[in-house]
Symmetry: C2
Subunit: 436 residues, 2 copies
């Protein structure tokens, strides 16, 4: 059977997976956690093989970091599995219970989405995290990992699949795609795959979005902003700015652009440039920003700000570099963010309620923060237990996506031979009564 046929079979089995008991799904998570512990030597050996190939083929150090699967990542994965097992069942929740008329009862009940395709570059830990989220939510999952960690992925998948079936989940609940060619085959399965979750570089996610009719959940870029308002506590602004840019620059919720209110720009920008420099980050800015920092630079008190063009404000550096711009006020800051941002997460630092309210109302992003770092945009930090990713789309789940984003709902109606003609012809009327 080629991958398309396997996925079609999975689609037919999905209702069985959706009907599986929460006890069985939780037991599977427990068995997977134990099996990962017991299989760690095998896992690390496979990962070492992948790392040797990566090093030999000159993969950059930053990427190597993402390929490595070590004790730390295993521990986090196992901890995540145990947390997940402790969470409520997201399936079968009654969201609405309404009597439409005497003896005609409607319920809106959550259910799994069905078949979810997960495609990720590097990061073997994503395989563990996302497959366990799919299991908890009663979804079938097709997993395609990056070739750089093919050995690690194969071992991890084997352990997870074996434990899941031992717990009593259907054989076809999980499927691994290994050939690169199978990515495009997967993208064609819009009849059988209900949702795609890509994890990887902007270019990679963009490619997925552009080559399938299957709905895609995620984000291609994270261009987050920190706006420092005229009424900001400037020391607080520096703390937040430095954290948002330098605490982990490679991730999507790291800030890429600093916007400063003109009223305080001359005072704040040199301080910002110095504070960032102390953490190894540099600013690039418009002519105005460059000029405002020049005196401090000439006095040897702050590094020089490199000149950049307006067309570069959508750049996601993912590195110790940051764009900056002076804006007239919070209104211009909002316009800039809605125009150049990626609708991910944006923060204002201000003591003014009026400015904060305007910013949080008008910025069209999944996360709008006041006086805290954009780095908080994360499923774990939001208390969701785990996340499949962060969505910058506006339909279905938005922002960090946990179990809730992996379920939909169906309407169940139970009657006693009720027909529409009776209502259409006036013999009966609807009498809505919400029972919850």
């Amino acid at each position: 059977m080629d991958i398309r046929q396997q996925i079609h079979q999975m689609k037919l089995d999905a209702p069985l997976m959706a009907a599986s008991d929460i006890e069985v799904r939780n037991a599977a998570l427990g068995l997977i956690a134990r099996a990962l512990e017991e299989g760690q030597d095998e896992i690390f050996a496979a990962n070492r093989k992948d790392m040797e190939t990566a090093v030999a083929s000159g993969v950059p150090a930053t990427v190597q970091k993402r390929l490595r699967y070590d004790e730390g990542k295993l521990r986090d994965g196992i901890e995540g599995l145990r947390q997940l097992a402790g969470l409520d069942d997201p399936v079968g929740k009654v969201l609405l219970e309404r009597e439409l008329d005497e003896g005609l009862l409607m319920k809106r009940v959550t259910c799994p989405i069905g078949v979810i395709g997960v495609i990720f570059e590097a990061r073997p830990d994503a395989l563990v995290q996302i497959s366990s989220l799919c299991i908890k939510s009663g979804n079938c999952a097709v997993l395609k990992g990056g070739k750089e960690t093919a050995n690690t992925n194969r071992v991890l998948f084997g352990i997870i699949h074996d434990a899941a079936t031992r717990a009593g989940l259907p054989e076809g609940a999980l499927l691994q795609a290994e050939l690169h060619s199978e990515i495009d085959e997967l993208l064609e399965c819009d009849e059988d795959v209900d949702l795609l979750i890509p994890r990887g570089s902007n270019k990679f996610v963009r490619y997925i979005m552009d080559h399938t009719r299957i709905p895609v959940m995620g984000h291609s870029s994270g261009v987050c902003h920190v706006f420092v308002d005229r009424d900001a506590d400037q020391d607080m602004a520096l703390r937040v700015l430095v954290d948002a840019k330098t605490q982990y620059p490679a991730v999507c919720n790291a800030a890429e652009t600093l916007l400063v209110d003109r009223a305080i720009a001359a005072e704040f920008l040199p301080k910002a440039s110095r504070a960032l420099a102390e953490k190894g980050a540099r600013l690039r800015g418009t002519q105005e920003a460059v000029d405002l920092c020049r005196p401090a630079w000439e006095a040897g008190e702050a590094p020089e700000v490199e000149l950049m063009g307006d067309d570069e404000f959508s750049t996601e550096y993912g590195d110790y570099v940051m764009s900056c711009k002076v804006v007239e006020d919070v209104c211009e800051a909002v316009d800039h963010i809605n125009r150049y941002g990626s609708h991910h997460t944006d923060a204002i630092v201000t003591a003014s309620d009026a400015a904060a309210d305007y910013f949080m109302q008008m910025v069209d992003s999944a996360g709008v923060y006041r006086n805290c770092s954009t780095r908080f945009a994360d499923g774990f930090r939001y208390g969701f237990g785990a996340e499949v990713g962060i969505s910058t789309g506006k339909l279905h789940a938005r922002g960090p996506v946990g179990l809730e984003g992996l379920v939909t709902y169906k309407y169940r109606i139970v009657g006693h031979g009720d027909i529409v003609a009776d209502f259409a012809e006036g013999r009966r009327q609807f009498h809505y009564r919400d029972l919850r």
Copy 2:
């Protein structure tokens, strides 16, 4: 400005519309209702012009019915507007309020989606209904109606836009596209349009889905089933079947396929064929169904059942015709529905809880009904006040979509200079406390 530039401008204005007071949005609905009443002569005159053209160009009667905009439709539209004005504001609802740690407060708050493109064939009443739903939910809307009712649409849009702006909504809250070429231009605006809602034929909706990167909400086909189980009250089954097929055959929630349990097929099928014939509907079926009905036909007690092929089971007749098939049991019925259906709405008639539970759990459709007609699948009948359409997709809104389907949410976090480094380096821990 061409339509693309106008839509881009609308995108920039969308946050203003999203921030509009509910009083203003409700006032707009009230003014629109009054203006439609006062403008009815103008509206009907425009519609007469459209109807004359339609008749002259030989548009079929069934379509003419959808083009006509008469007192009845106007009254329904005005009634819908008044109901809508009475509903709660879907915007600004706090879905989650959680303290992440001392002084770090997160809220998940509903907000409008932004810019919604509405493309509909015929049915001028859809223009009134959907534009008013967009207004109530704080969304900007681009409306493109069918050319067959160009005059009616122009007059309706003029009245609605004028009343909306008089109420204080932004000039750019509503936009009308009139040229056919503008459909393809609209489909290209994936940077500025957040959601597309097409209303029309399968072919039309399919075209929209295939030619845009903008998320599309709706359904291309409605192949609904009625399964009559061996434990069904057969008189009830006949009532439900006849209603589901003949009460209004042209709509998506009308049943297209009858599945009958083999244990009762010989007894039930001839009765079904006769009952449907009394309402002018005929059955097409597999060889087994044809053979089972032959005796009754030869005895002149029931009409003949025409032979059909298995490859026709995904046919949406939208007419007084119905496919039928004999199945071994509820399991085969479920497999057939999941394979040939459109995941819209499917019903089982049975007195057996076991059969009903299995059916409602395993059928992968937006609506799963027991002992009632599929024709109940409708936003008004569900008590949603109005609907933009019915979604057979599984992400975001599913089934009949009302106001809830036109909002998303954003995460607002307010802190006091909180940074992730403190949590990453163990100086602080998250202490989740849900405040609602």
